[in-house]
């Protein structure tokens, strides 16, 4: 079958980088499968329970980069109890025992222990990159092991993790011989760090491009760090509280002028807004700005800052920018591709922070917008229809109205038509999450039009099983479906059980699904794990199949029920 020697085919496969494409290549014939698997270096496992570490290692012995995701997405919002699972330890142990020369590990929503960080740091001589997103279970002791033992470490990227900060000297554990750092992000750490050690580390890292510090790093240290690293491309400040009339401020301002490469700015975890102008010179070249952790910057200062950022492609801000501020964004940031507006006051009495007006302005001014996450007080159908017309290129559209069942305040109608317009116009839409008053009708539209949809998040929506069925029948590319507080039951769940094998996972919580329904699903589909999370009742007392299940998580797997379930999780 092969007209070329294996080496030539392997070289051709080098150009096939996307996992989806490599998977396709490996299905062509046995010899291509063999060549492909020995040459595959990067593997992404979207659900760590879908496969075992041993099988991954056996198939891809040349593995260098592994990405693993653990808990379901709704775990981000406290819907998955502590102890549910998602531990990376068995993976690290298996990899350490094997001959895999792991160089990069990227984890999302997993439980990581100090012990396994230590094992990781000692087992792979060439380990270069550790990226942890929304993980938990470890402390700064684990970081110390990574710092001390990974001699060629290039990247340590900690994004939004819950880390127990022992206020140790983990930063000082980087040996003097470590000069390879390219990316260091410890913004989520809550404790003190050794400031002098930080400055020395930066000074001996000529390749450092990304540096995001935590709250414990004051402006003085920031200035010293920037002096050592004017080549930085991505900067996250720590605490930025200083007096604009002070000498420290002038010094910092002068140093910032030397940092001509900064394209991405974030941080400002504490901030004195009057001192923000020191960063204006950088704003001209900024492509990414993240102020979502800076509640100290109020609307007017935000607006002044953003007026400087004409080249912005990505903007993450808090809703205190207001509709007027979003209008400024719309007129200034013509290159904007991704916008996230977070609620600055999740429990506050809503003084309309942002509404549909801001979104309409953005859609009119930023034609390249393709990714949106928008928390707002209200939304109208008319606005959504306009947005759909202005921006037909959405790939990700996530709208969260703070009052989850709020109708269109002008017409008092559900928002079915608005979201319907979005899915109809945006033919490339892959991810959608909705809120507001929504009936089965919106799901009819989704099933009809959202042909590329891969991930859908539903909360407090729909009237009957029909809603869920429209989606399951219509969205052929659906991979992740997560539903909470919606009236979908066994009828919808069981209509087409084969569908779930074409998807990565299904989450349903506070819906109408019963224990009997889940049991039926599990019985008919051995290739799925049907997990029930039930904290209220003891197992012995649940004999009633009519009982509604609190939380159900269904996912396809090649390795059967998992062994590490806590007592409140049952696999049926």
């Amino acid at each position: 079958m092969n007209y070329f020697p294996d080496e030539v085919i392997e070289h051709i496969f080098d150009f096939v980088t996307k996992q989806r494409d490599r998977n396709a290549v490996s299905l062509v014939c046995k010899s291509w499968c063999r060549i492909e698997r020995f040459s595959r270096e990067r593997v992404v496992i979207g659900n760590c329970y879908a496969i075992s570490a041993e099988r991954v290692i056996a198939r891809f012995p040349g593995l260098k980069s592994l990405t693993l995701k653990g808990k379901p997405h709704f775990a981000d919002f406290n819907l998955v109890p502590q102890g549910w699972g998602g531990s990376v330890d068995p993976w690290i142990e298996a990899l350490a025992e094997s001959r895999v020369g792991l160089e990069e590990l990227r984890l999302k929503r997993m439980v990581v222990s100090d012990e396994c960080l230590d094992l990781l740091s000692r087992s792979f001589l060439n380990f270069k990159s550790l990226v942890l997103v929304s993980c938990e279970g470890f402390t700064t002791d684990g970081l110390a092991a990574i710092a001390a033992n990974c001699r060629f470490l290039r990247e340590l990227d900690l994004q939004e993790n819950e880390i127990d900060d022992h206020r140790g000297h983990w930063l000082s554990c980087f040996p003097d011989s470590c000069t390879s750092l390219v990316s260091l992000n410890f913004a989520c750490l809550k404790g003190e760090i050794n400031l002098a050690a930080l400055v020395r580390l930066v000074a001996r890292s000529p390749n450092l491009k990304v540096l995001r510090v935590n709250r414990a790093v004051p402006p003085d240290t920031l200035q010293k760090v920037l002096m050592q690293a004017p080549q930085l491309v991505d900067l996250g400040t720590g605490s930025y509280v200083l007096d604009p009339d002070s000498e420290s401020y002038s010094k910092l301002k002068a140093t910032i002028l030397k940092c001509k490469s900064i394209k991405s700015l974030s941080g400002f975890l504490e901030v004195a807004p009057r001192s923000l102008p020191a960063f204006y010179p950088i704003c001209l070249t900024l492509t990414s700005l993240n102020l979502s952790y800076a509640p100290g910057v109020h609307g007017s200062d935000l607006i002044k800052l953003i007026r400087q950022c004409g080249r912005l492609q990505r903007l993450w801000i808090l809703d205190c920018i207001g509709d007027k501020g979003l209008a400024v964004v719309a007129s200034t940031c013509k290159e904007l591709q991704e916008l996230r507006v977070f609620p600055s006051d999740p429990f506050g009495v809503g003084h309309a922070a942002v509404t549909e007006e801001g979104l309409v302005a953005i859609s009119a001014g930023c034609p390249k917008l393709h990714s949106l996450l928008y928390f707002c007080q209200q939304m109208t159908n008319a606005a959504l229809i306009t947005v759909a017309k202005n921006c037909p290129n959405f790939i990700r559209f996530r709208l969260c109205i703070l009052d989850p069942t709020k109708p269109d305040p002008v017409t008092m109608q559900p928002l079915d038509e608005g979201f319907g317009a979005i899915v109809q116009a945006c033919k490339k839409l892959r991810r959608l999450s909705m809120s507001g008053l929504l009936t089965d009708q919106v799901f009819l539209y989704i099933g009809m039009y959202a042909e590329q949809l891969e991930m859908l998040s539903i909360a407090f929506a729909g009237d009957s099983d029909k809603g869920m069925l429209y989606v399951l029948n219509g969205c052929k590319k659906m991979r992740k479906l997560e539903i909470r507080d919606s009236p979908f039951g066994d009828g919808a769940l069981l209509k087409d059980v084969g569908k779930y094998e074409t998807m990565r996972s299904l989450w349903m919580s506070s819906c109408e699904v019963t224990l009997g329904g889940c049991k039926t699903l599990a019985m008919n589909m051995p290739g799925l794990n049907v997990e029930i999370i039930n904290e209220n009742d003891q197992m012995e007392f649940i004999i009633d199949d009519e009982q509604k299940v609190e939380k159900m998580y269904v996912y396809r797997t090649l390795v059967g029920p998992r062994e590490d379930k806590p007592e409140f999780v049952w696999t049926l």
């Binding site: 406290n78 502590q82 997103v133 975890l269 999740p346 928390f375 069942t405 909360a459 407090f460 904290e535």
Partner: protein, 210 residues
């Protein structure tokens, strides 16, 4: 030989934007072409309930889950969760709006409106037929159950829970509240946290009025 360098976005995110590919297509068995066509017999929950009562059922179930969430978390995990004085229980209660815990705790430290353990929200409570009202601290309660229990004791009467079927009779009472827009609403439809932001005062009215 080192890992072939791939273009690294500076924020190195591991979300679906960078990895839109399905997991291990090559490994998984081909899904069966035809779905399980025979409808599996079971008792289907009729979708004929009014949405409001269904919603309040979901809300209450979710709230009781969240309450237990709070109780089952070990203190050590939450020792660093937030720099505010909010208790681990209050932290754990919140699943709406859907933002990450770490962002929530950052913002709650700064938000003036966030209710710390020390603060209170006293609202007036009247019972139909009784001219003198009482006052009640809503922040001292962690959900609708607790609220109704307290009020039942305070007014020595039976107040129906929002998820029971309404009994239209003179004997029973229901709990209503006035919201920020001046409308009188039945208590229990929205998540507790949202209720706290919109409630102005409470009234215990006869069930046959609703």
């Amino acid at each position: 030989m080192g890992l072939r360098a791939a273009a690294h976005s500076s924020s190195s995110s591991i979300d679906s934007s960078n990895h839109p590919d399905p997991d291990l297509d090559g490994l998984l068995p081909k899904p069966s072409g035809s779905s399980s066509s025979s409808s599996l017999s079971h008792k289907i929950n009729g979708g004929s309930n009014s949405r409001n009562s269904r919603r309040s059922t979901h809300t209450r179930t979710d709230l009781s889950t969240d309450l237990r969430l709070g109780l089952s978390i070990s203190p050590s995990h939450h020792s660093d969760l937030s720099s505010t004085t909010s208790s681990p229980r209050e932290e754990a209660l919140v699943s709406w709006p859907p933002i990450k815990s770490i962002l929530r705790s950052t913002l709650s430290g700064k938000s003036e409106n966030y209710h710390h353990q020390n603060s209170s929200l006293f609202v007036k409570v009247y019972m139909e037929g009784i001219p003198i009202g009482r006052k009640l601290n809503l922040f001292a309660h962690d959900g609708y159950d607790a609220l109704i229990t307290t009020l039942s004791l305070m007014f020595k009467t039976t107040i129906l829970c929002p998820d029971n079927n309404h009994v239209h009779s003179e004997k029973y009472y229901v709990l209503t509240y006035e919201d920020q827009e001046g409308d009188w609403m039945l208590v229990g439809d929205v998540p507790w946290e949202i209720f706290l932001t919109t409630v102005k005062r409470l009234k215990i009215t006869r069930a046959d009025r609703c």
